[in-house]
């Protein structure tokens, strides 16, 4: 009966977000009907507050590793940094989605609440040092996202997408849990650092462990949305309201990255020779299928969904390059390149879905490729912004997306998988076709309509800043990369 009170300071941001979510719930219940701006304002305020707490933790504790709640919660520099990026992404999601939701009757209190709870789920995942909390964080995130997809109850397409997402997501959670229970059976602990220690010290690699690893990787692949576990991505991206697609396509990728690195690299590193081939398999298939299937799409959201599949494949390349063919450890460089890729992808994804929202108006979704025809004549400024985003996604030199791909491929080459890098470059060339097609439609085709862009000024401004940031970061990618490396090594 010796219970030590846990230290609440490392988890202060999570506690704050949870408390604020309850405040938003009550505030919306009592004042929300006529004052939805209050809900919106409180949501943004809670994100800003949590950002302040995380920044304070970074300033005061730097690279210290703090464990609390019986070692289930870990606070390190990577966790706080990733959380800061998550707050930024979620704040942009809420801001971009506001006008869109208002026009479609989706501007309900539940939207903001679910966004906050999803954020909490991501934070729990990012800071998890225990299979149990990792799973609970994932469920919290997934459950919020399933509901958000179905929030537009009148739309049959959204309901179908939500159903698919829910069924496949539940299956994936089952796989993940099964894998975790196998690993628990083999190592006798659920704590990620404990698993790593058990593997490192005395563990022979029994079939039980390998079996568990297969299920764990399969569950992870489902959540990342990589081939052959990608079936939900195109339907969900297309079927969900764009404001929700924006959410699904951005911040959760960071949480998935954190989950992958915590489980595979921090937990099961001694099995890297086992999971590396699995990740190569997943990455090769995703990059190939994502890029080739995207060419055939006429719906921009669906196309971006396939593009997300291929991008996650590239991110996996960074994760798998930690161990070289010769068995050497190239970890620091490889993992920071994967993290860099994830952050860059989130930024560009936000801008691309933000563009779709910007061009939509009441009763019009602007999600077909043809809706972008002749955008240059309608709005030269936003055509240029969209061009930046597409160039960055395609990986055209001197946009940030190019450096993301470049460093990931460099890590792969360092690890000795030259064929893999060559394949990825070829596929990236194929992939640039469909990104450049959007640019061609915008600049060389006649506009199909001439409706003016009807978006709020704050959205126009921040979307421009977001797109320009993609261009500006491309001019100084080294800083962000060294920041990622600094964060991953715990501030050394």
């Amino acid at each position: 009966m010796n219970f030590v009170m846990p230290d609440f300071i490392p988890a202060a941001a999570e506690i704050f977000i949870l408390a604020m979510a309850c405040v938003v719930l009550l505030a919306d219940l009592f004042f929300g009907k006529t004052n939805r701006w209050l809900t919106y304002f409180l949501t943004q305020a809670s994100l800003v507050g949590a950002a302040a707490i995380s920044a304070w933790l970074i300033l005061n504790h730097g690279g210290d590793i703090m464990l609390t709640f019986g070692n289930m919660f870990i606070r390190d520099l990577m966790a706080d940094f990733l959380k800061l990026v998550v707050y930024l992404a979620v704040a942009l999601v809420v801001l971009y989605g506001r006008g869109y939701n208002a026009l479609r009757g989706l501007d309900r209190g539940e939207y903001y609440l679910l966004v906050l709870f999803a954020t909490l789920g991501m934070m729990v995942m990012i800071s998890s040092n225990h299979f149990l909390t990792m799973y609970l964080g994932l469920e919290l995130l997934s459950l919020s996202l399933y509901t958000m997809v179905a929030l537009d109850r009148e739309s049959a397409r959204s309901t179908e997408a939500a159903m698919k997402y829910f069924v496949l997501g539940a299956l994936a959670s089952g796989l993940l849990l099964y894998g975790m229970s196998m690993i628990y059976g083999a190592t006798g602990t659920l704590e990620i650092s404990g698993v790593a220690g058990a593997l490192h010290n005395h563990m022979a690699l029994t079939p039980v462990l390998t079996f568990g690893l297969v299920f764990l990787v399969a569950g992870l692949a489902f959540k990342l949305g990589v081939v052959p576990f990608h079936m939900w991505i195109p339907d969900v991206y297309q079927g969900a309201p764009t404001a929700v697609t924006l959410m699904i396509g951005s911040a959760p990728k960071l949480a998935a990255f954190a989950m992958a690195i915590r489980l595979l690299v921090f937990g099961l590193f001694d099995m890297a020779t086992h999971w590396q081939p699995m990740l190569i398999f997943l990455a090769v298939l995703s990059i190939a299928l994502g890029n080739i299937a995207a060419i055939a799409q006429t719906n921009l959201k669906r196309m971006l969904g396939y593009s997300a599949i291929s991008h996650m494949g590239y991110m996996l390349l960074g994760l798998l390059a930690g161990i070289g063919v010769d068995g050497g450890n190239h970890g620091a460089n490889a993992y920071s390149s994967a993290m860099f890729y994830a952050i860059v992808y989130v930024l560009t994804s936000l801008a691309s879905f933000g563009m779709i929202i910007l061009l939509s108006r009441a009763g019009f979704e602007s999600e077909e490729l043809d809706d972008f025809k002749g955008l240059n004549k309608r709005s030269p400024w936003f055509a240029a912004m969209m061009m930046i985003v597409m160039f960055s996604m395609a990986g055209i030199p001197f946009f940030i997306g190019f450096f993301a791909k470049f460093w990931v491929l460099q890590a792969v080459v360092h690890a000795g998988h030259v064929w893999l890098a060559v394949f990825a470059v070829m596929m990236s060339l194929i992939g640039s076709y469909y990104y450049l097609r959007v640019v061609k439609l915008m600049y060389f085709d006649e506009p199909a309509e001439d409706a003016p862009i009807a978006a709020a000024p704050d959205m126009r401004f921040l979307l421009s800043v977001n797109s320009l940031a993609i261009a500006a970061l491309g001019l100084m990618p080294g800083q962000l990369m060294s920041l990622c490396a600094y964060v991953l090594t715990g501030g050394q």
């Binding site: 019986g70 539940e110 709870f117 509901t147 929030l151 196998m182 029994t206 079939p207 039980v208």
Partner: protein
């Protein structure tokens, strides 16, 4: 054979047969009832493992609440059995192949080789007067308070989600709020219109 071993095999046989009947029973109500039986026997097995709290919870929550609800839903839905059976024979072969593969793998991995008593020894027997329920409660509210709270948040989200997705305001009802009816004023009902006099 020791009495405990006999009870274990007795319960396990019922459990396996009941679980098989859940997926083979033609009538969905029967399938649900077999599931109830499976839960009951599983809780008996847990009782043998001295996990009495979990055993009681399984009966109370799953049998008492979840399955009753489930039965109601099954009875209320108009399930077309013919349509459900469509494609059974087409899907049988791939289903059997995948199922067989998974079964072989699981037998190989979970077989006695890795989980025998040498690798996973019996836990030491509990002291007299040891309360499983009390220990569980102590752990949940101390060491495992963080995942416990998270599970509570997941339930809160589930509640919000259920309300957000299903609550509808009906627009076509003719019900009038009595308070509004009583508080009505003349100006709400009668509008004075001043019209210029016309002559022709």
């Amino acid at each position: 054979m020791e009495f405990k071993t006999f009870v274990f095999y007795f319960l396990s046989t019922i459990l396996v047969v009941a679980s098989l009947r859940v997926i083979t029973a033609r009538n969905p109500v029967h399938a649900a009832l077999f599931l109830v039986l499976a839960f009951f026997t599983a809780s008996g097995v847990w009782m043998l493992l001295q996990a009495e709290f979990l055993a009681i919870t399984l009966v109370l929550v799953y049998v008492g609440a979840v399955m009753v609800l489930f039965l109601f839903v099954v009875m209320m839905l108009d399930i077309n059995l013919e349509r459900m059976r469509q494609g059974f024979w087409n899907n049988l072969i791939p289903g059997l192949v995948v199922g067989g593969l998974i079964l072989t793998e699981m037998v190989l991995v979970l077989g006695a080789k890795h989980f025998n008593l040498d690798n996973v020894p019996n836990p030491p027997p509990a002291a007299a007067g040891y309360s499983n329920t009390k220990e569980l409660g102590r752990l949940i509210y101390t060491d495992y308070v963080y995942p416990f709270e998270l599970a509570a948040v997941v339930l809160l989200v589930a509640m919000i989600a259920a309300i957000a997705l299903t609550m509808r305001k009906r627009k076509d009802v003719k019900w009038v709020d009595p308070a509004a009816q009583v508080a009505v004023k003349r100006s709400d009902r009668v509008r004075m219109v001043s019209m210029p006099a016309e002559k022709d």
